[in-house]
Amino acid sequence: MAANAAQQAPTPNWPYGSNSSGEGQVHENPEWEKARQALASISKSQNSTKTSPTNRTPQQAGPYQATDSSAVQQQQQQYYQQWYQQNQQQYAGYPYPYNYYYPMPPYGGPYPPGQYGVQGGYQTPTTPTGQAPAMPMMEDQSSSYSSQPPPPATPQPPPQSPTSTDPMMQGYNSGHIRPGYQGYQAPAYQPPQQQAPGQGPYGGPGRVDAKKPNNSNMNKGGQQLWQRMKQAPGSSAVKFNVQKRPYVMANHTFTPGEQAPGLASPTATNPSPGSVAATSTTSTGSAQTRPQDWPQAMKEYVQRCFTACESEEDKDRTEKVLKDLLQSRLQDGSAYTIDWTREPLPDLKPKQSRWEPVPQRSQENAIGRGGATRGRGGARLGNYRNVFSQRSPSSSSSHSSSRSPSPHSRHRDRSRHHRSDSGSQSDSSMSSDLRLPLSRRQQKAGRGRGAERERGRGAAGERGRGRGKANRGRRNMEDLSSGIGKKRKGGNAGLDFHDPNREAKKQSRAARFHTKLRTEPLVLNINVFDLPNGTQEGLSWDECPIVGTCQDITKNYLRLTCAPDPATVRPVSVLRKSLIAVQTHWKSNQDYLYACEQMKSIRQDLTVQGVRTDFTVEVYETHARIALEKGDHEEFNQCQTQLKALYKDCPSDNVGEFTSYRLIYYIFTKNSGDLTTELVYLTPELRADPCVAHALELRTAWALGNFHRFFRLYQNAPRMAAYLIDKFVERERNLALRAIIKTFRPSVPVEYVQSSLAFPDLDSCLVFLTGLGVIFTPSDPSKIDCKVSSASLTTS
């Protein structure tokens, strides 16, 4: 806390950043979400009812139309991708096409990619899963917005500073807007409640439902801004819900014992599921009517504000300011009376991007995401792991004292959210849910932009920092609220109230700090460029071993696009049986498709668990051989690549064999560069290996065009080398035949060709020859007329 307070608050009119106490932030966050929800529902209802469009200036409307559909859809897609990745495993049958996930391969893979590293439901402790998805959206939005001309009214610091209005609107929100949100969200929410893997389908439809209206709205033009607003909360909420499911599921299946505690705290604070239903229904009703009540001018104003945004940060800031502003206005009724067209736009000074006070930064790193080294990705994984290990919510009070969202606390938090998702949609849980999209988004941005965000975290006054801080603060606050705060809220019948004065005090305090902090030395943060990569690199499977619990001998392969679920991962002991089963099945059935899939799933399970042992080598060798036998060069090469790396750690007896395959493969690709590189690394011992020696001889014969020797080696190829040589044997025969036909006169017996070119029998040789248009001597069909043939060969 002290550290936070120490952050500078350069811009006084940015109240949020200046909040030094986490609680206030916590409340803000939900409120904000609610506001967005409300906006969203408004726009939705507007669109559906086609109420009179706002009198937007063409200037404003134009850009939206242009950008909207594509941008929004992109956003959605991102959501779904993310969602999908995380759930894909469970919901194998999910109909979405693969290309949805493609953009996000980092997820499926080793996790490291910096962008996503932090985000995701995994890492965000307080604002659980919801945060990450929201971010991409916002980014997209910002991109679409950035190009737009600034609204007529130039941005100014909002005179009615959010602080003062804040409390009021909070009250308002909790009372009125939230229901709308719930109503809107309801369909999406339900699936998580069921928690069972069987829900998979639910996630899909739920998402679709939420999305479809948006899409249709988007295309209507004129309403785009609102759609966007609406969509953000809606989709993010959906996403959030969906995202959580896997964890919930995992918990249920795997660690029932652990789950109980996780459930416990939320239950205590939250109303029973039964009440949820009630709330949601009522809320739906109010949601429909409420938003429509909003004055058109106000909506317009919101639009203007967003149009003025030039960057994602701006947008974030704008959202925050707007949220407070609108809520307060709505609450005190001035929203219906004031002249929105005259309302100044929120002040959005670009924050200083690369200068920051030194102490702050270090603090950030230390506190922030559990250390910079751990990084975004790391944190995420850590969280994931923790899902299964650390769920005890017992120390919730400690959250309040430490601002650091350690994986554990995050984790705990998340578990609470699961709880709330699955169990009840009480006010308190709702509020936290509402918070999610925003904070998640922020977090994502933080991840994307790395240090900037981190920097921002503790800062009090300045815009960018303020925001960043607010996020984290919120997150932490959420810790608080989920522990202490939630109880308090529960006492308040779910209203997210808090002391209005407190906000004001915080602000003033922050204002003091910001002046002080300015005097601190500024340091050029070069690391901005490096951070994402640096953290990325540190991440690998090794650092986050999971141990599977699946006992199935066979398992279908499914491309992993999200964090692995131990429930579906088989431990090594089971995999050994699997391998044997696949091998026997292969021997008896020769069903390559089956074998390949099984091998791939075994490989995947090994990779996911970070197993790099002799058994891993054996698996890859087996798969490589099977693939080689069936000529599946794609799989074969994948295995080869892995084996090359694996052999460094786990030398096997078959190193020579697979080295020779590699050499032969380079012959096939005629890649003399790689061939030379490979030769450099051949040790004398390896050269002595019969397979390698054979491959080297083959290479020499091939390089010198010594087809006689080449084909003799082909016939005597050890192990499975012949399968590989098959790949280019035709090519070599062709070349050799040309040499033969050019050389021999007047004729050459077919038998010679057959034996030289290693044809298994005369017939196949004849087929080959006639295929090339070779002409035989009229008098003796067993001889090739070289002179005539050479002419026909050159022409063919």
């Binding site: 490096d530 690199e537 030769l679 087809f707 040309r738 040499a739 050389t743 017996p749």
Partner: protein, 367 residues
């Protein structure tokens, strides 16, 4: 100079920029400049690197801003050179730690260089004197160095095409052209285009500054095999002068048709040849050696109809293992096919019938 203050340093840089003294500015900005040794600048290495990368970024953009001008080219040269060297070091460090993908750092550096290159190559508006196209060749050379290091020769092709189609290609500085032709020659050699390889490498060798003995030696390492394949054997003095005695036995063996000696020489210096990447090229000298060996057989027998057994005996003398008459036919067939021998094989009579005129045409006229 080594201990100038930051202010002094910045002042000098500013002056250089104001006066458009690209060369001096480049010197100031280069990491070879003494200011880098200032202990205050010794942060942890990642910072340094990223700062430098950042320099490149900013430079790239500022470079674009200076349309119609090219005085800043030397700065870009210095920065890109540093970038490549840094990438190289980073690569090595990562490798020694066993981390990272091979060639990853270098590839990233290459990306940056490419973005610079695009700026230069697309500068079509400025007059010839002010054109940034003058920076192309330098960048290409840097890129070549990276591509050769990471074994991605195919990426060189568009660059070569860009220079080939450039009207400035003969007007770049000799140093740059020497470097360029060295790499293009090497590439041609790997593509088995020996005639062109010889042309480029020979240009490189003859125009390389006489004080650059090391570079000349490097050029020779590739020029010698190419020349030998085309029938030009290096003199003993040349090999001695450039400390390339590894080639001595090879040269001797090839010209004598001494297959045995050639095999021994290749095995003996295999590591050196492989490391230079010329082992596979030198191996092709075996074909020349066969030709010379068989030419001796022809001269001994003094007939146009040579029994295949004679060649078999010759090969056995050279201790070629498990060779049979079919393989002799195969080797001869290849020599005939490639044009090293004029003649044909009568399978029926097991004889090689060679042309009465010039049965073994000079190597330089072949292929």
């Amino acid at each position: 100079m080594a201990h100038i203050t930051l202010n002094q340093y910045l002042q000098q840089v500013l002056e250089a920029i104001d006066s458009r003294d690209g060369a001096f500015c480049a010197e100031m900005l280069s990491f070879k400049h003494p200011h880098v040794a200032n202990p205050r600048l010794q942060l942890s290495s990642p910072e340094e690197k990223s700062m430098h990368l950042h320099c490149i970024f900013t430079m790239c953009s500022s470079f674009q801003a200076h349309k119609e001008e090219n005085w800043a080219l030397p700065i870009m040269f210095a920065a890109t050179l540093d970038l490549r060297i840094f990438a190289n070091n980073a690569e090595q460090q990562l490798q020694s730690k066993g981390k990272g993908k091979v060639g990853d750092m270098l590839e990233k550096a290459a990306e940056q260089l490419m973005s610079c290159f695009r700026v230069c190559a697309s500068d079509n508006r400025a007059g010839i004197d002010d054109s940034k196209k003058w920076g192309m060749l330098f960048l290409i050379n840097q890129l070549f160095k990276i591509y050769f290091k990471i074994n991605k020769l195919h990426l060189c092709k568009p660059l070569i095409r860009a220079i080939d189609s450039s009207n400035l290609k003969d007007d770049y500085s000799t140093a740059q052209r020497v470097t360029y032709k060295y790499y293009v020659g090497r590439k041609a050699m790997f593509d088995s285009d020996f005639k062109q390889a010889e042309e480029y490498l020979a240009f490189s060798f003859t125009h390389c500054h006489r004080s650059c003995q090391r570079n000349k030696r490097l050029i020779l390492i590739y020029l010698l095999p190419v020349k030998m394949l085309l029938g030009h054997m290096p003199t003993h003095q040349l090999l001695k002068k450039y400390d390339l005695m590894q080639f001595a036995d090879v040269t001797k063996a090839v010209s004598e048709g001494n297959l045995l000696l050639l095999n021994e020489a290749l095995v003996k210096h295999e590591t050196f040849f492989i490391r230079c990447g010329i082992f596979l090229i030198l191996e092709k000298l075996k074909i020349i050696t066969y030709r010379n060996l068989f030419k001796k057989v022809y001269h001994l027998l003094k007939t146009h109809q040579l029994p295949l057994d004679a060649f078999l005996v010759a090969l056995k003398m050279m201790k070629v293992e498990d060779v049979d008459i079919d393989e002799v036919q195969c080797i001869l067939a290849n020599l005939i096919y490639m044009g090293h021998i004029k003649g044909y094989i009568s399978h029926q009579h097991q004889k090689l019938v060679v042309s009465k005129q010039n049965p073994f045409p000079p190597l330089s006229s072949v292929s």
